[in-house]
């Protein structure tokens, strides 16, 4: 199990999207989320879709990984489409079915809103598919840096995130070990009514928590022994660097925004 374990959804690769500075990716996705709501006609939607699909193809992430990211929201996309179909009463009537009336406006509106959802999910999952969690952590630490002035514990937050990421596989291995040990003593995790199964989780969680606290204590001691005394005066091994390709992408994205503003009034 431990050999196939990948934290998050990261798909290793060497594409342009993978190599971009994580801060660039986060910034672009942040603004993309906003501008998606400004698209209001076929041309502007096409523009954004082309941008999103182009990013997807450049990243060379296999389509099945992206579809996997979409599965939990398929329902939401379809549901909003149907909702708009029933509720929106604009445009010309297509046909009516007893009490339900379907209008062209509903189809268009439903399609547009679903498209927005689709684009949002596509871009955000592209971020997690092409960026390691630790890169995202570094980027967040760097981007939140100005908040240090108002005493926001940026460094501590980033360290907490990276230590959590480091211990996820360790604790998962431990969970498996404990659940096997408890199963060998007759705890049944897999059958029975839900209430019984929920009860069976208790003998799994208690030892897991006890050991997690013990780990935390030992880790704190080891960190102290290795000279950790807070973020003050610390240097960093992992370095973020804005390269030419990042600037190129920013310029391209600025063109997309300009294009969107222009096409809005078509």
């Amino acid at each position: 199990m431990s050999n196939s374990l990948i934290i998050g959804q990261y798909v290793p690769g060497q594409s342009l999207v993978h190599k971009l500075d994580p801060r660039t990716k986060i910034t672009i996705i942040f603004f993309f989320v906003f501008i998606v709501f400004f698209a209001n006609n076929l041309v502007s939607y096409t523009l954004l879709t082309v941008f999103a699909l182009a990013s997807m193809f450049i990243s060379r992430v296999p389509i099945r990984f992206i579809l996997k990211g979409l599965t939990p929201v398929w329902f939401l996309i379809v549901f909003t489409f149907i909702l708009h179909l029933f509720v929106t009463k604009e445009g010309t009537l297509i046909f009516d079915l007893y009490i339900f009336e379907f209008y062209t406006g509903g189809v268009i509106q439903g399609f547009a809103i679903s498209m927005r959802f689709f684009l949002l999910i596509l871009m955000t999952s592209l971020l997690t598919l092409t960026t390691t969690p630790i890169e995202i952590t570094d980027a967040i630490e760097d981007m939140l840096h100005p908040l240090k002035k108002v005493k926001f514990p940026v460094h501590e937050l980033a360290l907490m995130m990276s230590i959590s990421l480091r211990f996820i596989p360790t604790l998962m291995q431990e969970t498996e070990k404990i659940s096997r040990a408890q199963a060998s003593r007759g705890v049944d995790f897999k059958t029975g009514p839900i209430k019984e199964r929920a009860k069976a989780v208790v003998p799994l969680l208690v030892p897991l928590f006890v050991s997690a606290f013990k780990r935390a204590e030992e880790l704190a001691m080891a960190m102290e022994a290795r000279g950790y005394q807070g973020g003050e005066g610390r240097t960093k091994l992992r370095e973020l660097k804005i390269e030419k390709r990042d600037i190129l992408i920013y310029v391209l994205f600025a063109c997309v925004i300009a294009g969107l503003i222009y096409t809005r009034n078509y």
């Binding site: 360790t170 022994a225 000279g227 005394q229």
Partner: protein, 279 residues
Amino acid sequence: MGKKLIEFRNVSFRYGDEQPWVLKNCSFDIYEKEWLAIIGHNGSGKSTIAKLMNGLLFPQEGEIIIDGQQVNEESIWSIRKDVGMVFQNPDNQFVGTTVQDDVAFGMENRGIPREEMITRISETLSAVGMQDYLLTEPHRLSGGQKQRVAIASVLAISPQVLILDEATAMLDPKGRTEIMQTVNNVQEKNELSLITITHDLQEVVQADRVIVMNDGEIWDEAIPRDIFSKKDDLREIGLDVPFVAILADELKANGISITKEPLNHEELLEDLWTLHLKT
């Protein structure tokens, strides 16, 4: 022997006012570039000694002087630059998300520039034979490999003293050999003082000097061969005597004269096959 590096002067320690003393009036010295082994059964106070040397704990009585500085709240940060420590549990001291991040952690804390970190990471990782695992995550490493990374991350800050606090206790025999080999190499190359804390007599064989702890007191301080000759006493204070020492004893009891106390199988073998040549 070189100059004194660590001095314990009448040190006593307990975890709380109501608690029993863990260390009782201990005094000893550790010299530059020597290999000192501290051995004792569980609860004999040996791990407490390690934590006192690093300023993780402070003694209630007596004083500890490391490289001319007394250990106290003000001096701990500079002392921790000189005293590196490897703990028992390989998982619970691995801070970084990858091998190179973990080796860098100690250096980052000390504000070492990035370029220097990169060269030191590759130097120290090759010193422990882990240079091919630069970007590997901890859950893909064995216990022995994790401990080697822990040793590398201590070496990266080039300390004067390396303390291994039961660093092999949670490893399988293979991991144990890996660590003992690594420690040997490091000791030969780096010229630092090495303190290994253990409850396994097998691991003290190569040390220059051994301190045996019992119930918070120094029970004996001698070279390994002399320690090995006190088998019955060692057994009495709860230490396992290695098989080769027991065998040598039995042979002696059966009238076979063995010239010196054997530390390992090879030495005993040497003694036995030359037995009749000498007489």
